[in-house]
């Protein structure tokens, strides 16, 4: 809630003091930022009658000087360039410029130079620079996400852009929350270290005045970790509602695009899945697939009751009641159709790709030991024709991540089998993954087999049995959060930057940023942890939101660049 309400507050403040008919101009990044937090009907209520993109609006020639223009852009050089062109020949009556992050002085000078007509009334920085998709989960939608896997020498300028965007996003979060954190990072990850250092420099040196909030309560903790410390979570199949929709179909900025899936009726081709606006989704987004089915059935039954009573219109009073309740009825109808369509399509996909079979093995690979049994299971599935190529690739990857060091002969056998099955997915990708995220590179105890306490815990869990075989996996993040709650996060693994740190005092707020992307399974973990009232509020963020396709695509891109670059060994 806190992230969405921060963005909404910023937008409200932008719109409140300006009267009359307005036009809101955004760029491709701020469109996502605004769309997840503010709806079109709310904009209309505030008299914003047109929303446009800054690059398309410069092409138009017509003057609408009765409108006041509000620009909300990221302070990039292209946007400044577009603005210059706009200010040179203004189309609107007044110009109010809001930037989602800190402007450099040179950029202000460029704008002031082009403002010959003096149409600009104000220039402000409103730090809503993140996409607040869920109450405690944000993303930055960074375009070239795969760069984090490559060493800095390969493409230094683009990597610098990546780091800048991440640092800007993190800074915006803390400016919106009005806190200055102390920062810890994952020792084994160079990029996490780099981002931590640059963030510290920004918050404590370059803009220390801006971040100096003079609050006497405890500073929050910012923990920067690397996706490659837990490569298992993005590869797994998901069975809780939100994670499953993203894994099988794909959620972008809380929107689901069903057009590529199959024949869908026109009004359900693109739907919105937002916990703020949809009460059913809010109650069910973290439930597993079986429970969702039951709940949807209940919802449909309720709806059918109402529909039946609507048809029995005999007296005039019934008619009056029908007209009264019609908007509610229409909304409910739309909502029910949306969820029914989603669940139907997902069931079809599960059936087609035999995902229940695959997922059982995946969960075993992720959670339980037994190399021999695992090898047999994976081989069987590789021999099964109805399993798709990408699922086979994932299985081999999961096996390789766990049993990297045990029995290399059998690992080679699996690689060969994979190569013979699907020439498109060269086994080189699996080796690349091992190089990036193999057991030597990881800090956290991914499989719970490093320290004695975890081994004991796993054995206990094995003896007790699991409620649901398909959702037994806990992301590594869960353990990290537990360690933080108990104050047991090791300094050796997660050192502090500089000497801004507080020992001994209890934490109240923690922001965890995963470089390389988060998953909805992890955001579910965070939400459940927050709901358990442990006294600490966790916020999770990442450069993108991953599913298995996206993670594999990043790996492929990184591998391609690494191959073609002479700098990489």
């Amino acid at each position: 809630m806190v992230l969405v309400s921060a963005v909404r507050d910023y937008i409200n403040r932008m719109l409140q003091d300006i009267s009359g008919m307005k036009v809101l101009i955004l760029d491709s990044q701020t469109v996502s930022i605004v769309s997840v937090a503010y709806s079109q009907s709310e904009l209309l209520q505030k008299e914003v009658f047109l929303v446009e993109l800054v690059d398309s609006i410069s092409k138009s020639k017509e003057s609408m000087s009765h409108l006041k223009a509000i620009f909300f852009l990221r302070p990039t050089s292209e946007n400044i360039h577009h603005l210059r062109r706009q200010l040179a020949s203004p189309r609107f009556g007044e110009y109010h410029l809001f930037f989602s992050n800190m402007l450099k002085d040179t950029q202000i000078h460029i704008l002031a130079d082009s403002d010959e007509h003096e149409v600009v009334q104000q220039v402000q920085e409103f730090y809503a620079d993140f996409v607040a998709s869920d109450p405690f989960h944000f993303s930055l939608n960074v375009p070239s996400n795969h760069l984090y896997m490559l060493p800095a020498v390969v493409d230094p300028s683009n990597l610098q852009n990546f780091c800048d965007r991440v640092v800007d996003g993190i800074a915006a979060i803390f400016l919106a929350l009005k806190r200055r954190p102390f920062i810890r990072y994952q020792r084994t990850s160079d990029i996490a270290k780099r981002i931590a250092q640059e963030t510290t420099k920004l918050m404590y040196q370059q803009e220390s005045g801006l971040f100096d909030f003079r609050r006497t309560d405890i500073s929050p903790l910012l923990l920067i970790i690397d996706r490659r410390d837990d490569p298992v979570t993005p590869l797994l199949n998901q069975w809780t509602y939100q994670a499953m929709v993203h894994e099988l179909i794909g959620i972008q900025d809380n929107k689901v695009d069903l057009r590529s899936i199959g024949k869908i009726p026109k009004d359900q081709q693109e739907v919105v899945l937002s916990s703020e606006q949809d009460a059913f989704f809010k109650a069910n987004m973290y439930e597993n697939f079986g429970d969702i089915g039951l709940n949807i059935k209940r919802l449909v039954d309720e709806f059918q009751q109402i529909a039946k009573s609507n048809q029995k219109i005999q007296t005039i009073e019934d008619m009056a009641k029908f007209v009264d309740n019609y908007p509610e009825y229409k909304k409910m109808h739309g909502n029910v159709s949306k969820h029914v369509t989603l669940v139907t399509e997902m069931s079809k996909i599960v059936e087609e790709h035999k995902l229940m079979l695959v997922s059982q093995t995946e969960q075993d690979l992720a959670c339980n030991g037994g190399q021999v049994a695992a090898f047999e299971a994976v081989t069987n599935l590789l021999n099964n024709e109805s399993i798709s190529d990408i699922d086979c690739l994932r299985l081999v990857m999961l096996y390789a991540l766990r049993y990297e060091k045990e029995s290399p002969v059998q690992l080679m056998q699996l690689f060969n089998k994979l190569a013979s099955r699907s020439p498109k997915y060269k086994p080189g990708l699996v080796q690349f993954l091992l190089k990036q995220a193999g057991v030597d590179k990881r800090t956290g105890d991914l499989y719970g087999n490093r320290d004695l306490l975890n081994i004991a815990r796993n054995m206990a869990r094995g003896l007790k049995g699991v409620e649901n075989v398909y959702t037994q996996h806990q992301p590594l993040l869960f353990q990290t959060m537990e360690s933080i709650t108990k104050g047991r996060l090791r300094d050796v693994d997660y050192p502090y930057i500089g000497n801004h740190f507080q020992q001994g005092s209890r934490l109240q707020e923690v922001v965890i940023f995963i470089v390389g992307g988060t998953t909805y399974e992890e955001s579910r973990s965070v939400a459940l942890q927050n709901a358990s009232n442990s006294g600490i509020r966790f916020i999770l963020g990442g450069s993108v939101v991953l599913n298995s396709k996206r993670f594999l695509k990043d790996l492929e891109e990184a591998q391609r660049i690494a191959r073609s670059s002479p700098a990489v060994v």
């Binding site: 036009v23 469109v31 996502s32 769309s35 503010y38 010959e116 409103f126 693109e270 919105v272 739309g334």
Partner: protein
Amino acid sequence: MATRNRTVIYRKHRDAVKSVRAPLSSSASGSGGPVIEMASLLNSNRSSYAPLSTEDPGPSSRDAFTVGLPPAWVDDSEEVAANIQRARVKMAELTKAHAKALMPSFGDGKEDQRLIEALTLEITDILRRSGKRLQKLSSSGSAEDSNVRKNVQRSLATDLQNLSMDLRRKQSTYLKRLQKQKEGPEGVDLEMNFSGNKSRLEDDEFDDMSLNEHQMHKLKKSEQFTVEREREINQVMQSVNELAQIMKDLSVLVIDQGTIVDRIDYNIQTVAVSVEEGLKQLQKAERTQKKGGMVRCATVLVIMCFVLLVLLILKEILL
């Protein structure tokens, strides 16, 4: 929620640039619309601004920019908004009139009824006219600000619909309360009747006849009540029907909250898509025109003309 205001720095720099630019600008030719040719900022030196063919951007031209004349349809939309406001005021009056009519009074309440009727009719009329004018809004005006027009329509339609629903709800509560009230004294009467009947049952016929008269009188009164009540109900139902019609017309314009249509990025996309589609259609038309038979025919004819001309010249030369 932290923010930072950079307007001061911005203004300072803008004024500094203006003071540098002002002494360099030559005579104020082109005093018409302030069209400014700008030399490219980054390349030129500060000291060598090209003389600008415009007047100094003083306060007068700034006003000419901010006070732009809005297109004609804005007047229509403002009128609809004003009507909505008037309807709101009248609805407050109606609420008061409803409350007054429901209170027990000594008069026969005909004044109150008439006031309520008049107010209801007026409000329904305003809503209907505004609805019609709102639908006409889309047809007028140019294509460029069609999006603005559409959005203004949507916002006003939402307001109108909310008002209609409000009015309907008020009417139905009033009606329910009215029915309950009218039944109250009726119920008591009927009870008395019933008990009266029972006690008189053993009496002789003469008493029966007088009872019958008493009963007839009661019956007539209850009939009157029923007739009047039916009339009131009919009136309310009529306005209900009208409102239902208005709502049906408006529901096409109103956005359903929580659906994809309520998303800002979806609305931007659809604009972009239609522009792109238009471009594609134009390109296709261009291509078909180029490939068109007409062009080919014309080319063939021209070539033939040349060939024949050459043949003619050859004939002249050879003969």
